[in-house]
Structures are given as structure tokens and as C-alpha cells.
């Protein structure tokens, strides 16, 4: 004990140190490209670009669509995550895998795939059209669909993990107190998985906000209707790369603001102890 103390002393210091170093490297890795952008950004004509009507429209549309995409992801993703985490049924692994495929799919193909499913002649799309006169492609709704398609997987997997990590004994205790599954879910389970839910929501929101390929293919590129920020940036890059950079910085600034705004409190979980 006394003998091994110094040895342990060293060991005991290692984790935090190594961890901190690795974490620092990771942070730098993330930070550098943005510093680069700021560095190269053409601040001269930035202002005019920022305030350009088209930019603002695109930004507004982006926020609007990504918000809805997140809402839908949560609405449908959380139940799916719950099923995957809490029920045993044949082919569960398959369903889980299925949910992640849209992340693997190259953007263009994702768009095409969506056509086959929800397009005018798509498996379901044709009936949407026939029966309800709904056509998703080339509409704002289409943008939301495309974004949800690529963003939801992140929510599903993250929340499923949270469900698996949660201690079900508290749910049992709640049920013995006469709480319906739904009430248990709201008052006990949800608070327990809040960190995971928050992370999942953030991930899918960010993913939706940055979505490009599936959107432009499935929903087209119509200013004010389906031209989200990434599309506008892609286009700007065609004519004037500087403008593209400035617009990206706007997008970055916005999401940065939002993410910083969402305090640890919303992330919940163990109160972090001081360093």
C-alpha cells in the first residue's frame, strides 16, 4: 500500500491529464477550420451579403424547416427508440439497422430514394397525390421530409441508448403506486433519459440544418420555398465563393448561438463537479 502509493499517484494523475490532452486536441481539430474561415472571410462586403434579402429568406426557411424536422424526429423517434430498447421481438436488430441506413445513403441517392417512396409516382406518393392531392417533392413540406429522413436516425439511436442506460426499477416502483405507463413515462422515464434526449434532439436539429444533398434532389432549389441555407451557399459558391463563406459563417453563428444558449441545465443529468 505505502509502497505502491507513488505508483498509484502517477497512474491516478494519468487519466485526467491524457483525457485533457486528447480533449484539447479534439477541440482544436474542431476549432481550426472555423478559425480558418473567419480568417479568410471577406469582411469587406460581408455586411451587404448578410443583409441581402435572399440570404435572410434562406436562413428563415432553414430554421423553420430544421425546427419541424426536429419536432417530427422527436415525435416519431422517441417511441421507436423506446420499442427498440424495451421490447424484444424478432428482427429488432434489423429495424435498428434500417434506421441508420439513411445516414449511409449518399445524398443524391437519398433524394432519389425519397422520390421512389414519396414522389409523384412513388410507392406511397402516388396515393398521397391521388387521395389527398398532396405532393411532397419541390415543396417546403418536402424539405422537412428530406431533413427528417436524414436527421431522425441520430435521435433514435441516441435515445435508445439512454433508455437502455436508465434504471427500470424506478419505473416498477412508480407502477406499484398506480401510475399508468404513460404517466410513468412522463414523470419518471423521461426525466431519467433527458440528457440523451437533449443530445439526440440537438444532433438531429444540427444535421437537419446542414442537410444539403437529399433536400436539393427531393425538394429542388426554389428560393423562398425550398432553398435552404446550405443550398443558397452551394449556389453562392458557384458565382462568388466569398459570399458562400460569409453565408456559412452566418449559419454557423446562428447554430452556435442556439447551442450555447441551451444551458447544461437542459442537458440535465449529474451536476458536474468542479475541475
Amino acid at each position: 500500500m505505502i509502497v505502491s502509493a507513488p505508483a498509484r499517484r502517477i497512474r491516478s494523475e494519468r487519466l485526467p491529464l491524457v483525457a485533457l490532452v486528447l480533449a484539447a486536441v479534439a477541440t482544436a481539430f474542431f476549432a481550426l477550420p472555423f478559425i480558418g474561415l473567419l480568417w479568410k472571410a471577406p469582411w469587406g462586403d460581408a455586411w451587404s451579403i448578410l443583409t441581402s434579402e435572399s440570404a435572410l429568406t434562406a436562413l428563415r426557411l432553414s430554421l423553420w424547416c430544421s425546427l419541424w424536422a426536429t419536432v417530427f424526429s422527436v415525435l416519431f423517434g422517441v417511441p421507436l427508440a423506446w420499442v427498440l430498447a424495451r421490447l424484444t421481438f424478432p428482427g429488432r436488430g434489423a429495424v435498428r439497422a434500417l434506421c441508420t441506413l439513411s445516414m449511409v445513403l449518399p445524398p443524391v441517392v437519398a433524394g432519389v430514394a425519397l422520390f421512389y417512396a414519396l414522389g409523384r409516382n412513388g410507392l406511397v406518393g402516388q396515393y398521397l397525390d391521388e387521395w389527398f392531392g398532396i405532393t411532397l417533392p419541390f415543396t417546403t413540406a418536402g424539405v422537412i421530409v428530406a431533413q427528417t429522413f436524414v436527421a431522425m436516425p441520430f435521435l433514435v439511436l441516441t435515445v435508445e441508448a439512454a433508455f437502455r442506460q436508465a434504471d427500470t426499477r424506478f419505473e416498477d416502483a412508480a407502477r406499484t403506486l398506480g401510475a399508468s405507463p404513460w404517466y410513468v413515462f412522463r414523470r419518471i422515464t423521461l426525466p431519467a433519459i433527458r440528457p440523451g434526449l437533449a443530445a439526440g434532439a440537438v444532433l438531429s436539429w444540427a444535421r437537419a440544418l446542414g442537410e444539403f444533398g437529399a433536400t436539393i434532389t427531393f425538394a429542388g432549389n426554389f428560393p423562398g420555398r425550398t432553398q435552404t441555407m446550405p443550398l443558397a451557399i452551394y449556389l453562392a459558391n458557384e458565382t462568388n465563393p466569398d459570399e458562400a463563406i460569409v453565408l456559412s459563417l452566418v449559419l454557423i453563428a446562428v447554430s452556435f448561438g442556439v447551442l450555447v444558449a441551451l444551458r447544461d441545465r437542459y442537458l440535465g443529468g449529474t451536476a458536474p463537479r468542479a475541475a
Binding site: V108, P137, F138, G220
Partner: protein, 236 residues
Amino acid sequence: GSSSSNNGGTAVKGAITVFAATSLTAGFNEAGAAFTKANPAAKVTFSFDASSALVTQISQGAPADVFASADTATMDKLVKAGLNGSAPVVFATNSLAVIVPKGNPKAITGVTDLSRAGLKVVLCAEQVPCGSYAKQVLTKANVTVTPASFEQNVKGVVTKVTAGEADAGIVYITDVKAAGDKAEAVTIPADLNVTASYPIATTKSSKNAGVDAAFIAFLTGPDGQAILAKYGFTKP
């Protein structure tokens, strides 16, 4: 105004959507503005994307009235699918140039230099028009180049050169112009060069025959050509 009248057409009214290859973005935006100035009752909205993607979208029922392609091959796909309303007409041509970073640091004088060892050259992938054109040029000049990368589109080439990651690439003249002071063009002599033609046509689903025809007419007319020329396009 007078120009539009001596353009032969009387002012039309109605809104159309033009699907155009991204390389036309700048030129079409200006042309569109001019067109609507001449025809105050008309409205033109553009949707830019890769020509091929636009064809896919049109086949999926995208509300396009006019389709302007960056190459004839893609336009043929539309025609083959019977989705075109009018016969395609070539409204602009373009030719290739070697693009080098500002100041031409590697002192490249022509296509032949591209085979120089230690030179980082990027080309478009053969699957996309600029790539196949570039290939033709290189064959004509019979230089063999091992590029560092086959880009998905011409902008990829421009980006890498302007970013200084690549020393040279082969792109359209129009792209060099668009790159402004970040890049310079090393011209490719006409005998080695190839001509890329930009066909345009109305779509079968076009809902506003008047305006889409008028727009095509405007583009092919002197005013349209003048505007396109500003961006480096040449008369067919």
C-alpha cells in the same frame, strides 16, 4: 423598352420557372432581371442544380417550364424521355482554359505543361461534361496527365486551384472569369480547344408557352447574348 421591342416580341405576362445548370447561375440571374424589365408582367424564377440532377427532377414532375443544360448529352436525356416541349436550341457556347492561381506561380504556359512532374493538376471526372472535354483537349495535345483528383464538377476544380491546393486545372473560361482575381486563365489555342454548347428547351409540362418561348428568344437575342458574353460565354 426599345430593345425588347426590336427583339421582335411584344411584352408577355405570366410566371415561369427555369431549371438551369449551376454554371449559368450568374449569367441567368442577370438575364432574368433584364427579361422581366423588358416584360414587367412576366416573372422568372430559377432553380439551379447540376444538369443531370435537374433532368431527374423534371422526370419526377418538378414544375419546370424551361430547361437549360450545360451539355447536349444531358439535354438528350430529356428529349429521349420525351419531356421537352420545344426542340432544344443552343443559346451559348463555352470553351476550356487552364486555370492557375493568381500570379501563375508555377509559370504554366499551356496544356503541355500540365504533364510536368510534381505539378498538382485537378480535372473534372470523365462522367461530367467538363471532364470529357478536358480529356479531348489533352488527347488532341497528346499530353498524358496524372491528375491528383477527378472532381465531381468544374467548381471543385476551381475551388482547389483558388485555395492553392492544386497548381492547375482545366475548366471553362466562364469559371475562370467567375473566380475573379483569385485565379488566372492560361488560354488553350483554338485548334486544341473544344466547344461546349449549352442547349435550352421548354418542357412538356410548361404551363406558360408565351413566356418560356419569349425567354428563350430573349436569351438567343442580342440583349441576352450581350449579357452572357459578360460572363465569358460565346455566341453559338
